[in-house]
Symmetry: C2
Subunit: 559 residues, 2 copies
């Protein structure tokens, strides 16, 4: 019997990697010892009040991707590999990523720490609990819920209408049975009966706030502004009305310190905050990005899903709020994902098919167009998979060159930073050019105009339809004067449209806004389009059922 | 205007204390550097696999108390102060405590880290999130719930009866509105509708298991044995049937390492695990107690509520399972609490009232009797409050001497370890005597006999009544052969009886068992008596509303 050669899993590769003590990573990043609080030997939290001030802030490289497919594009992997390549090229670099949510880890997606030889470490601890930030957010969110229901139960002085409470409970879990529930059952001692539901924690407004707040005072002030529901007279009730902002901020004070870890090649990594990009803004915390910029010359960061979601929100929400703009943008694409966008099923992706690839190219083209709308010339990272044929790779490389798009082949999964050197060089050359960044809309414009701008210039839609519910929401938002906030569109990640089945590069479709939810703490208006889940479900065979741990504490089955 | 002298709060005293780095505490405790994983500068987790083996295990001092009253007895404070006193007396001592639950911290009770100059530090971090253990338990508990509901939703191969699922979700929160809920509403894509409810995390069977497991393999095996519900044919369904024990144990692997912190005087403290003593067994983790015993000569530990709850379960469940017995038992009492047991209202406790005190003494007498039932001569710690008169203190001291009971006055809140020296000396003298410990019942006896033994010999009841539901449960337990497990009675902490209003030392009352819940993972049968809440509620003015944090991260309003 001959032995079959099985490639190592990400967890196996990660387990074999040699990590540097967190003190050394901190030192390499320019973080003084007194500013680091160790969490174990290889993780730390940064007390940003103890950091030195650098004269100029580092430049920001945003990594985005084409429309995601089940084939996987490797955006986090390229982000990590690019940061290692820049380190190899002598640039003082930090990578800033989002924290993985346990829901997808236990469900289907697996971890979010890169892959192969382009991972952040310690992989298993980052994927499970990490330093407890998401648990602190869950706790703060649900403490607010308990205080609201206790207020109802204790006489309801604020006259909150139990039918109009918009604040939901959360768990960091994929748990569809909690989407729609009734609570407070069982008689007068058990609270006030009402409809409720659980979202996944990364969909909590507290997560969005956590990722946009600049310091603890700003965090508290934003939490105070959260609208939790409405009175019988339809007046908004905020956290300030309940007096809970102090306690909720106290629950978040340790979590709010950015987490320091390392890539497999020793590049410092800040992993902090992680809102979903389909229902929220999808970027790591602003405080982590600001901290990374204050320490390094180049900060490589990513935004969730494709450029229509994460990158658009990075530019129009996070960067606007943070007072900066990206200095370079990388769009990750793969042969496989473009073939899927060209109509090929996942099970047939290993076969060479340049025709399908060509059919999928308009998806990449549209993502390039979106980045150019912001005045930035993107760089395409063609992330190589072992099944790609040279002919297929050539289709994309040639197309980019013909269209005057910077492109680099990456092979970071297999080679680590070495596989990202070509991309690193393209990025450095882009950083040296002058940029011409512009937001797509002025926040003081009307809600309709702001949504129209995103729908037309980013998605390629030709019409925005508002349901009656959305029109009612809009009227209320205008009445309150909340219309001057940026827009955060909740949309499927699979299509530029609000129909997840419209792959490739659809054009001239309508976008339907079903509902508009004011998130005053986060400071944006969420426009729900299509059927966006704020609480995912588990698949038939959840990833959790493959997981195990041995008697010495070694993890198994994490992907 | 003259300035009023306001005593410092526990948080203020804690904030002024100078802590030793965790490395030094570890060194003092005999923990090699490679076995410590720091969590910040002043907390750590212990990798017990890297500890040296000591020839003999340390002796165990159990601190229990009279029946708790709203006046507060200071059991944790005496436990901490006693450990500091023993350290001052030259004994190599470690104190082992339970982790505070956030529910009571945000609700009414406040923290559980001692008080005054007898506290464990860092007080605010221990009271908020600590090292994330309870969050990990919440996550493991709810991951199991999500897997159960996903199983129902995905075809229900195991034929689980949705009406007979006994596994509930949990949050570490006081949230009465979640006691009785309906889930899975909203149509076929949103799961299977059924009744459910949330308990507080410290009531989770996973918490109980966590506190009784000896290592990761034992933890996994116990989790596998948990009964989550029954099929349509009334056959038990376990975690093993669902195949989830590996993932749940993986989620707990870091949490399962005991936490090392310090008292205000630098005595090493292991704070790990924290089941409630009214609904579970109410002691810190066995792995922490075992670890402390392997490092120190004396381990001071506490059990929840009075000796009828925590101490009885410590002896009959934890110590039995751990293969040891306490070498000394301290019963904490106060003048105030005995006056309340003598019929005085809380608002009148500051007035001298030796008559009421005498009326309350039978409560202390009964707790002494309970400890003697186990073959141990207890030591009474009379924990001094500033309002106590000398005449009142003398009533108790004299009574103890007349009855040949060892007694010591403690003043640890004000003086730290120095205020516990007299108690420390009594404890050391007790440790040098031979002991004559015996469990109250044989586990192989019938359930009825075991319950009768506890009811009569511990509570002073004269009859055990079983409801029809309890009799049905008993028949099922006998059918499955689960009757050979120890008994964990869920009972009010305020009275020896199952009626919280029967203070003092009632006798000749009936105990009604309403329901018997097999906890096969924890390895005991929970007998519910009276109306025991597994999910507390918040008071009219929750403690959370007094909490705040300043821009530098300093906590305010924690009690």
């Amino acid at each position: 019997m001959t032995e079959k050669i099985v490639p190592l899993t990400d967890l196996q590769i990660a387990s074999k990697a040699k990590m540097l003590p967190i003190w050394e990573i901190a030192k390499n990043a320019g973080i003084p010892e007194e500013a680091i609080e160790p969490y174990g030997r290889f993780k730390g939290k940064i007390d940003v009040t103890k950091l030195p001030k650098k004269a100029t802030n580092g430049k920001v490289v945003l990594v985005t991707a084409i429309s995601p497919t089940p084939a996987g594009e490797g955006k986090s992997t390229v982000t990590v590999g690019l940061s290692d390549a820049l380190t190899r090229l002598g640039e003082k670099t930090i990578v800033a990523l989002r924290e993985p949510s346990l829901g997808p880890v236990m469900g289907m997606k697996g971890g979010a720490t890169g892959g192969g030889y382009a991972q952040v470490l310690p992989m298993e601890e980052i994927n499970l609990h990490f330093n407890g930030d998401i648990h602190a957010i869950t706790t703060a969110n649900n403490a607010l819920s308990a205080l609201i229901d206790n207020h109802l139960h204790r006489g309801n002085d604020l006259k909150i209408d139990p039918r109009r409470i918009t604040w939901k409970r959360v768990l960091d879990m994929n748990d569809r049975a909690l989407r729609n529930i009734t609570i407070g059952l069982g008689g007068p001692a058990q609270g006030v009966p009402r409809e409720d539901g659980f979202d996944i924690t990364v969909a909590s407004e507290i997560m969005a706030i956590f990722c946009l707040a600049t310091d603890l005072d700003d965090l508290k002030e934003r939490i105070a502004r959260i609208v939790v529901g409405y009175t019988y007279d339809k007046e908004a009730i905020t956290v300030r009305d309940l007096g809970a902002q102090g306690a909720l901020t106290l629950l978040l004070k340790e979590a709010f310190k950015p987490n320091l870890v390392q890539t497999m090649e020793g590049t410092p990594a800040l992993i902090h905050g992680g809102p979903f990009a389909n229902i929220a803004h999808g970027c790591n915390s602003l405080i982590a990005t600001n901290t990374a910029r204050s320490l390094a010359d180049i900060v490589v960061t990513e935004a969730g899903f494709g450029s229509d979601l994460g990158a658009e929100k990075f530019m129009n929400i996070k960067a606007r709020h943070g007072g900066f703009s990206p200095d370079a943008v990388v769009i990750v694409t793969t042969v496989r994902a473009l073939k899927m966008n060209g109509g090929i099923l996942k099970e047939n992706l290993s076969e060479e098919n340049t025709e399908a690839l060509v059919l999928g190219l308009p998806n990449l083209e549209r993502h390039i167009h979106i980045i150019k709308e912001f005045g930035i010339e993107p760089i395409v990272a063609l992330n190589r998979f072992v099944t790609d044929s040279q002919a297929e790779l050539d289709v994309i490389l040639t197309w980019c060159k013909e269209n005057n798009i910077a492109v680099a082949l990456t092979n970071v999964w297999e080679e680590g930073g070495q596989g990202g050197i070509a991309l690193g060089k393209e990025v450095i050359s882009q950083l040296n050019r002058t940029k011409n960044f512009a937001h797509l809309y002025n926040v003081n414009d009307t809600v309709e105009n702001k949504v129209k701008t995103i729908a037309e210039r980013v998605y390629g839609a030709n019409e925005v339809i508002y349901t009656d519910k959305a029109l009612k929401d809009l009227a209320e938002i205008n009445r309150y004067g909340w219309d001057v906030l940026p827009i955060c569109i909740a949309k499927t990640q699979y299509s530029f449209s609000d129909d997840p089945k419209l792959l490739g590069s659809p054009k001239g479709f309508p976008i339907t806004v079903r509902e508009i939810i004011p998130k005053l703490g986060a400071g944006f208006l969420v426009c729900l389009t299509g059927d966006i889940m704020t609480m995912p479900g588990l698949p038939k065979h959840p990833a959790a059922l493959n997981m195990d741990v041995d008697k010495d504490g070694n993890a198994m089955g994490l992907i």
